[in-house]
Amino acid sequence: MSVSTCPSEPGASSADRPDGLDALDRAIVVATQAGLPLVPDPWTAVGKPLGLDGDAVRERLARMQDAGIIRRVAAVPNHYRLGYVANGMTVWDVDDAQVDRLGREVARVPGVSHCYRRPRHLPAWPYNLFVMLHGRTRDEVERQAEQLRQRLGDACRDHRILYSSRILKKTGLRLAGRSDRQDPPR
């Protein structure tokens, strides 16, 4: 996939980009990636430095949300601070012929937040289905994992629960901040 993400100047009108975003949309993304302002009219606050009025910002965000480019405008919790101290990345070695059907099925189990198919790295890593579970205790996560195990049945050869024991970093995505892009220290 070859996608250019180089924006033209803010204010320039849209080139037909593969993601359907014009330069102003991308400027809104950059302006909000650290978060939405906590003021009564956040749309105007975002738009002012961009030369947009609040309604234009809101309409553009709504369009990006409808297109699935923004999942939603929402609060991201720190699991631990909410008491969800057992966060298990469960990983499953599932028959390749059945993993897509079963992945869609286990994604509907209550408690599942993320469910993906990913590549194996044999022999070190045989697991191809990743399912995130969150509980207040490890017992709770293990009960959820047992439900998944039953749904996967004979198609699953092995599984593990990798608990997170520490958050080492959590900054969220920094996708379009070209001006502050820097090379990592050596």
Partner: protein
Amino acid sequence: MNAAPAIRSEPATLDAADRGIVNRLQEGLPLVAAPYAAVAAELGLSEGELLYRLERLLESGVLSRFGPMYHAERLGGGLTLAALAVPEPDYARVTERVNAFPEVAHNYRREHRLNMWFVLATETPERIGEVIAAIETATGLPVYNMPKQEEFHVRLHLPV
């Protein structure tokens, strides 16, 4: 221990109004003219009270972020999950080196031989490979790259 930023992890004490805010705002802010006033009315709070509490929830690390949640690939970016098997004596040093990359959006310690798991978010899909190579150079360890091949579900909601 000094390698990692101070991210608080002890459970917070929340009152009923805070819990209402956390639950409601995980669902999403309505894209209306005065969005906080609209949510405050639903929760029986004033707009000022909601904004004050929301700021406090962010400052105290109960919420790690509030704002638009982007779909990285649909923005034309690259996204992947990657893991390292870090020798325990080197863990702090490797954490520092990995976290120094701005492309590392999240990083978790997990209990397994592969004991460091991080998400890379880059401006272009091509850049993922470059960052992985740079992390291998910086840490001296092979990176296990596990990009998603199929997404079945993404919807984090933690009721309190």
